[in-house]
Subunit: 357 residues, 4 copies
Amino acid sequence: MIKVGIIGAGGYAGQTLISILLRHPEAEIVWLMSEEAHKGKKIADLYPHLSGEIGLSCQTLDDLDKVLKKVDLVFLALPHGIAINHVPKIIDAGKKVVDLGADYRFSDNAVFKKWYGIEHSTDKYLKQAVFGLPELYRSEIKKTNFVANPGCYPTASILGLAPLVKNKLIDFDSIIVDAKSGVTGAGRGISLKTHYCERNEGIEAYAVTNHRHMGEIEYQISKISGNQINVTFVPHLTPMNRGILATIYAKLKMPARPAGGQNAKLKINELNQLYKEFYKGEPFVRIFEDKVPNTKYVSGTNYCDIAIQVNEATGKAIVLSAIDNLVKGAAGQAVQNMNLICGFEETAGLKEMALYP
Amino acid sequence: MIKVGIIGAGGYAGQTLISILLRHPEAEIVWLMSEEAHKGKKIADLYPHLSGEIGLSCQTLDDLDKVLKKVDLVFLALPHGIAINHVPKIIDAGKKVVDLGADYRFSDNAVFKKWYGIEHSTDKYLKQAVFGLPELYRSEIKKTNFVANPGCYPTASILGLAPLVKNKLIDFDSIIVDAKSGVTGAGRGISLKTHYCERNEGIEAYAVTNHRHMGEIEYQISKISGNQINVTFVPHLTPMNRGILATIYAKLKMPARPAGGQNAKLKINELNQLYKEFYKGEPFVRIFEDKVPNTKYVSGTNYCDIAIQVNEATGKAIVLSAIDNLVKGAAGQAVQNMNLICGFEETAGLKEMALYP
Amino acid sequence: MIKVGIIGAGGYAGQTLISILLRHPEAEIVWLMSEEAHKGKKIADLYPHLSGEIGLSCQTLDDLDKVLKKVDLVFLALPHGIAINHVPKIIDAGKKVVDLGADYRFSDNAVFKKWYGIEHSTDKYLKQAVFGLPELYRSEIKKTNFVANPGCYPTASILGLAPLVKNKLIDFDSIIVDAKSGVTGAGRGISLKTHYCERNEGIEAYAVTNHRHMGEIEYQISKISGNQINVTFVPHLTPMNRGILATIYAKLKMPARPAGGQNAKLKINELNQLYKEFYKGEPFVRIFEDKVPNTKYVSGTNYCDIAIQVNEATGKAIVLSAIDNLVKGAAGQAVQNMNLICGFEETAGLKEMALYP
Amino acid sequence: MIKVGIIGAGGYAGQTLISILLRHPEAEIVWLMSEEAHKGKKIADLYPHLSGEIGLSCQTLDDLDKVLKKVDLVFLALPHGIAINHVPKIIDAGKKVVDLGADYRFSDNAVFKKWYGIEHSTDKYLKQAVFGLPELYRSEIKKTNFVANPGCYPTASILGLAPLVKNKLIDFDSIIVDAKSGVTGAGRGISLKTHYCERNEGIEAYAVTNHRHMGEIEYQISKISGNQINVTFVPHLTPMNRGILATIYAKLKMPARPAGGQNAKLKINELNQLYKEFYKGEPFVRIFEDKVPNTKYVSGTNYCDIAIQVNEATGKAIVLSAIDNLVKGAAGQAVQNMNLICGFEETAGLKEMALYP
């Protein structure tokens, strides 16, 4: 059993980490950190559903030095710009790190600054971090001790796009990602935007042209393709708690309208085959052929469900990619990364079934 | 006061019509028709919220002849393929007709057959029907006695696209409409797809490549542009009762990336100006400049709220268009059309404020 | 047209008042006041659904003197303890007042202090205020110029109980009110309790033994009965925006178990008759005999829907009473009171149909 | 590993059983039965969230004989009146049975007939069945091979009431259970009542005086108390998927109003202590002292969360009891019973954390 600490335990990603780790066969939570206001409070008082499951109270980052002597691995689940101040010390203390925040997701400091308005004083740790999308970077992750866990929208979007991009089957400047997210994506912090009455029974787009995850998607898609790609990304807030459905559109590099239905059918079959091959053996990707992904189907799980269809008349591929934003989009993927860097079974602690309906 | 009858009163569009007409200063409901199973039942028993508001019971189409002597105007709110059997008789009896269904939305019989699999035995009535989108066809509507009321998705999509298409500002083959709909769009008919537990807390796409409203959008957009246009249209079911948000993407015919921020700002201003000009004086279109449409803002109203933004890096215009699918997307627009063909004030009966929150 | 001002326009009750008054045939809003943070902001920016409907901006109470010269009637929709500081000045200026808050609902200062922890420095205005439940106090309301509008839970509870209490048909110490409320009852103020994710998909009781509305219900029920009555009142937060369903239990003063089914049926008929008689001619009370109230049926309306049933084996009457907490439970009833004190038609501005579904 | 079969696998209780059993360390699903319409269909096609988890298809009861040779234990999750035809054969074949339906919950055939309108042709199996509420009947369950799993409302209600009833602390004729349920309680069968749009944003009571679970609660409470007790039970449908909150009211046999606050506090402490003692060591009951149960806290778990409070002025105890109706209220408790009759660890397969938020 390794000993782990969680910085940012009071947020939704943090408490999801707790839930997963409490049932993990190889890891033990020994330390929880949250904001000053939570200091000394039992996590089970902040989250009553944890009553009877965990007795730990929240500490603050003031105790970091002391704590570092006790833990083998640290998860950070913080708003951007904070991890940057603590990760170096944790790495230097020889601890493994999985950072769920955005601070180390770009290996290029300038790109990070472009999207987040701040920059790292040194590239040292930045270069060390591996982008924690196991389906694309498993071998690198296995070799590192520092993982930058992907964002929720990027996870759904990149997994949906990768087979098309890697095989150069689409016009790279035609990519559009229309994403629908549950409200947990906005975190536990209170605001008018996340007030029950204002969100219930309403859907709206936000950050229509400048969401930071657009940068992350572009950065990764460019890397995969070997081209500099810009993506049109529009996120939407929807009245549900969990889940992201990314509806992805891209122009296929193929004759716009095939001669007949049979050809069309073949093409879909081939694309389905391509996706199945691409994700063959992946424990957490399911390719749907005869049904469409629904955020409900992955609720509480580490799955990413993907389907591809083609609008023959317009030549557009339409990829549907669904995840639970708090699991595959945050805490579940973080544990998957922990499993990889610690040499555990990759699915350890992540076998939870979807809570349906 | 004109006397109106409603065929298909038992569905959601039908009962919304009833609610609007009960408060309409110029119209009186004298006759309700619904399916066989509702025969003789009070509408207030099918919809208890109407208790104390209306005493009428449901009749069936068997009484049509008798009824036609009593009414001046008939609304039809039926699944496709049924109105086709009754509209000729109603027209021939010299009555005004507003058909909320799909049967007369295409003036081209072949196109209708392509999308709906059935055809009209004669073009006569088809040619007579005017597509009831007042913002585009007001003068034609005023002159007719037979309106084919647009579908819900087409209303939101066409109003969002019209200024760009008419002014030929976009690549016509780049249009994508990603639409999010509340569940009332699927009607009151029971099914596993509309079962509470299966819809709640989940979002999924449906009819990804072949929704019939795609045909209606294409038909109208082609007409407006003077070009044959195919549109990529993907509807989604979302966990809310009312509302459609159409997120529309199209490639602007402009330099992909302007020299500086100032230019970009100008472009947005110009596009906003364009939309405002296009819908100047329209009682039911609101152009949002500094905020984004939310389906909540139009809930219970006949408004279509529209905003346009531009992703500078990709050169894509992003238009957000929100309606209440049962009001502007069905019964409200039908009453707006009734007002126009009867010479009433266009907004009569349609001044309801949004029910917020 | 009378000129009205609204103090507390930024809250949900305030904006509901605005919506109703904008369509009211006899009243015109000339002045809006909200908290300091809203100063100078257009109300349509705080509530985008009001775009195109109203151009007014928010002022603060600093402008009260100036404003009092312009208005005939003032609505106050404030947290308790604030109206107390402003009502005297408004009354003394000769203006009519409808206070939606709690400060003047008890004519007994000591009872007010018991429940709210503060007291009035003089009984003068307290004695002047009439409790604005028209179904019970219509004649008094018509004669006053100062109405204390009832709370939301008390409105549903008192209307449900009044016929039984007035006719002394129940054991007064057996009354239990189990109330289920939508989240708008908690207002627009942000908090973890009203965070979307924390409220969605969960029901919990709150203020289980000491909700202030218990005092208001007891005070009124005691007054109606002529006895000092204590009530067990437990409110619950439920995952919906609008509506209160009060399920009321009381022991009938009758033989515990009737001889046969026929008698039982008679008893129910008599109770139904009693309720119908009691509320005969009331424009906003509907007695349901063969169906049960549902908060949906009154959504957006000023109705209170009531049904009574009897559990024969236990001798308990079960009264179901449903209102829209923002309309009959707040702004609608306030306008009903305005209509009464101004001599307008009682239903003026309140004819909105339920927004269904 | 024992081999289990599930009759009624296509319903919500059935699929929850599947999810739990797929992760159970001691049991293996070898056979699924569902209605005729599901014959031959893969369960993962009926429930796409099970994709990649289970390959089994649905059979029908026609195969029962063949199947009985392969299984050690059978779960039945059927509407009432069907299990009655199959349980005898399964028992006679020497198989263990956990019946999630109502057919064997009353050991008295006449009481069963009173509530369900049908009767058993023999008492033989009826007498054999043990009511599967482990917290009350653990030792009997351990000795039997046939468990009648309690209903969802009865589970929450009986666990909430048992300490008060067993210790005779309340007036037995004063018990009221006001229960709020998520829509999954109504099953997966489609109906207007469970149509998304009709349930969303609305709360209503149903079966106000005659819900069958009232009989089950009365039967058990009478047994526990040794008195014949009638209970007033009113269930409500609420807009959420999962969970039951039972708010239970009963008159305490104590001085109606204690002398002072201190006494009151003592009384609550004593009641809390009583509940803690009563459920000491229970793995699935949590007593909340300083917070109230919320259906969210138990979502996806086998917990029953209970809190007790007292309204001093009325002398009423108010017990709040929350469960997940599909887990502790159905499939989870069924597995708990399987564990007991098979000699497994009682919590095996039931350690799932709440899915929060």
